[in-house]
Symmetry: C2
Subunit: 80 residues, 2 copies
């Protein structure tokens, strides 16, 4: 089973990298760009075939390693 | 209009960061995890309301700044 994990900074947490991207886009002449936020996108394959168990396992991975839950949110999508 | 951009390493390009995440998950006791790949997930708001023009603009952003098209693929999703 394939898991798609999006890790994003929580609302209100400053995103200097996103800000830098926004500034760079501005200097390249892209106008009207706002609210740039940069997150992580992790994909992985897990051997677990049961969807509920797989979701539990990937949630554990996010809580323990992948996301810093103090400042980051995560979203998991599973694909058979 | 909101743009969601996924930037991932092309197939066949080594992903040392993904490899490190896979190893770390293994040491934490998560078995059966394979093929970890780490990409970027960028969201931004653009003033352009026309979907075709917005897609063209975001494609340009990816080509010129956001993605390194030699080793990375990008996917754009627009949301009104």
């Amino acid at each position: 089973m394939k898991a798609h994990i999006h890790i994003t900074l929580k609302k209100g947490v400053l995103d200097p990298e996103g800000k830098a991207i926004g500034n760079a886009l501005g200097s390249l002449g892209f106008d009207g760009v706002d609210g740039v936020r940069k997150g992580k996108y992790i994909t992985l394959d897990i051997a677990e075939a049961d969807e509920d168990k797989a979701l539990k396992q990937v949630t554990q991975m996010c809580e323990k390693l992948l996301a810093n839950t103090v400042i980051e949110d995560y979203a998991i999508k599973l694909e058979a």
